[in-house]
């Protein structure tokens, strides 16, 4: 076999493997969308029927009306956006201080930030729950927004590394011209952080949007639920009505998926850049 045809066979094999695997990735979504149009009686059809016959679109309306889905979307969007924006700003500020300003206990505090990367939220959530109950934040969005907005040790670490890699000449020039620390940060350093901050923001957005553990524990009124908690609640109430559940799942999955498809390049590259799991 010549090297060229050898390569062609290799490439075809690759596409066969990748195509098959990608199909497996896609099928659960296809099943979800198609089955959401099924009637309850079509659940028991064996072998499974992919295309529903007859189509039964009312599941989407029923799912949307059974629980406050619209409300949950508004909650999820504004909670997630607030967390990400505040997180990015405060992380950038802390990162700038750790990278450029000399102040007492700087080294010690930085190590403290790194050490907290190892603390699992599942451990701290129990005392946090008791504290939230004490200060009356249980079943409010504060309990979800504030702890996440004001703490992202990985973000601080990543941005600090980035700032340390920047040349200092611009900042020095600004200092000599009499700019305050805040001005130097806001006008010179902050605009340079666009690339790492968008990666961090995307990553943080994904984590916060899908966050389930915290909202599950802190929230109890359906009107205050975020999308994942609402879907879990829905599942608890309609366990046996599979097509209705598919409609609820589709309502939760499809809008973020569309956003992902539109921004996929930035999202995937952002993740590759930050590369920290969950």
């Amino acid at each position: 076999m010549t090297p060229r045809s050898d390569k062609a066979v290799g490439s075809a094999a690759k596409h066969l493997f990748l195509g098959g695997a990608a199909l497996l990735m896609l099928l659960p979504f296809v099943w979800m969308v198609l089955s959401a149009f099924k009637d309850f009686s079509q659940v028991f059809v064996v072998p499974p029927q992919w295309i529903p016959d007859p189509m039964h679109p009312s599941n989407f309306v029923d799912a949307w009306e059974a629980l406050p889905f619209g409300r949950a979307y508004i909650n999820s969007v504004y909670i997630t956006v607030t967390i990400v924006v505040v997180q990015l700003l405060t992380c950038a500020m802390a990162a700038y201080a750790f990278a450029r300003i000399r102040f007492p206990f700087r080294g010690g505090l930085f190590v403290l930030f790194l050490a907290t990367l190892m603390v699992p939220t599942q451990l701290t959530i129990i005392p946090l729950y008791l504290v939230m109950r004490e200060i009356g934040w249980l079943d409010t969005h504060w309990s979800i927004i504030v702890p996440s907005a004001l703490f992202n040790a990985f973000g601080v670490f990543m941005l600090r590394q980035f700032i340390r890699g920047l040349p200092t000449s611009l900042e020095e020039a600004a200092t000599i011209d009499g700019a305050s620390r805040w001005k130097t940060f806001w006008l010179i350093v902050f605009p340079l952080l666009r690339a790492p901050m968008s990666a961090l923001g995307i990553f943080s957005f994904m984590i916060q949007w899908n966050n389930f553990f915290g909202p599950l524990i802190f929230l109890s009124t359906p009107e205050k639920f975020t999308v994942p908690v609402l879907v879990a609640q829905f599942k608890g109430q309609h366990t046996t009505d599979f097509p209705l559940m598919m409609a609820a799942a589709a309502l939760a999955v499809i809008p973020p998926l569309i956003v992902f498809l539109l921004l996929q390049r930035y999202i995937i590259e952002g993740v590759a850049l930050t590369g920290l799991k969950r």
Partner: protein
């Protein structure tokens, strides 16, 4: 920074600026992580329940956990899950990444593999409830009709419930791990593999002696984050099985959750959480140690 006399008066002011800049995140760290961490340690030594009892009991909560069958079931299940999911995830993702590296249509494939990563874990759990259903789920139907296998009733069978959750986790996680592997592969200088090719190394030899060693920092990083992540598995077990049947899919985090927010035994929950913390701490330290010994860095 040059130490000119002009900059010196700024030093004292800088102390204030430094603390002010670190301030918001530092408050978050103290109030929402360090404080609760210390509180959790204290809590693990106390009897603290919904009835309002709050008293110091020493190590009783830990003794109670070590005597509790549920705790050991949780530890066993989490260990078993990790043992299956981490190698599975690494091998599958690496295979996909290797195939994807330098192939036409890479962007489209990458997109398809990444879709499950973006989807809410709760919502996809609901979908998989149907896919894995023993009687009218499509997976078992095809296993029966096409392969003549008598498939298990995944989520209801104590022996198969963890493998079933592993399957869903792999589906959800491969895209992420693969993207990191791809980034790692792309940072390997083409010069190296080309040189090996010229020297007559077969593609398997090139993979084994060039690609794999160059990829070792990525592999280690992914192995550790993947182990840590799998020790924290919760969403899938919560939505799909509620830890059942029996305790067959009770994971450590589900156990911590169940003790605190179903049983309202906060002391016992904190003790179980502390065990999880120690495990994660040991794993992280093991990472630092392994990094020094086995990882090849290209400096």
């Amino acid at each position: 920074m040059p130490k000119t006399s002009r900059l010196r008066p700024r030093r004292l002011a800088d102390w204030g600026w430094g603390l002010a800049f670190v301030g918001p995140q530092l408050v978050g760290l103290l109030v929402f992580v360090l404080g609760p961490l210390i509180f959790a340690m204290v809590l693990s030594l106390m009897e603290w329940n919904a009835g309002g009892t709050q008293r110091f009991v020493g190590l009783e909560n830990f003794e109670g956990q070590f005597r509790s069958e549920e705790f050991w079931a949780a530890l066993r299940n989490t260990g078993y899950f990790t043992l299956l999911v981490v190698p599975g995830d690494l091998v599958c993702s690496l295979l996909v990444a290797l195939a994807l590296n330098n192939v036409r249509g890479r962007v489209v494939y990458r997109l398809l593999f990444f879709m499950p990563v973006v989807a809410s874990s709760v919502a996809v759990s609901v979908v998989w409830l149907w896919l894995l259903n023993g009687e009218f789920g499509p997976l078992n139907s095809y296993l029966r009709d096409w392969f003549g296998i008598d498939p298990p009733n995944w989520l209801v069978d104590p022996d198969w419930v963890i493998p079933a959750i592993v399957l869903v986790s792999l589906w959800r996680g491969i895209g992420f791990t693969m993207v990191i592997f791809l980034a790692g592969l792309q940072s390997i200088p083409a010069m190296l593999t080309e040189a090996a090719e010229i020297d007559g190394a077969s593609s398997l030899q090139r993979f084994w002696h060039v690609t794999l060693p160059m990829l070792s920092p990525t592999i280690l990083f992914l192995a550790v984050t993947s182990i840590i992540g799998s020790f924290q598995v919760f969403d899938l077990a919560y939505v799909m099985t509620q830890g059942g049947p029996g305790n067959a899919s009770r994971t450590l985090v589900f156990h911590v959750y169940d003790l605190a927010f179903v049983g309202f035994d906060f002391g016992a929950s904190a003790a179980a959480g502390a065990v999880l913390f120690v495990i994660l701490l040991v794993l992280t330290l093991a990472q630092l140690w392994a990094q020094r010994r086995w990882v090849h860095y290209d400096e």
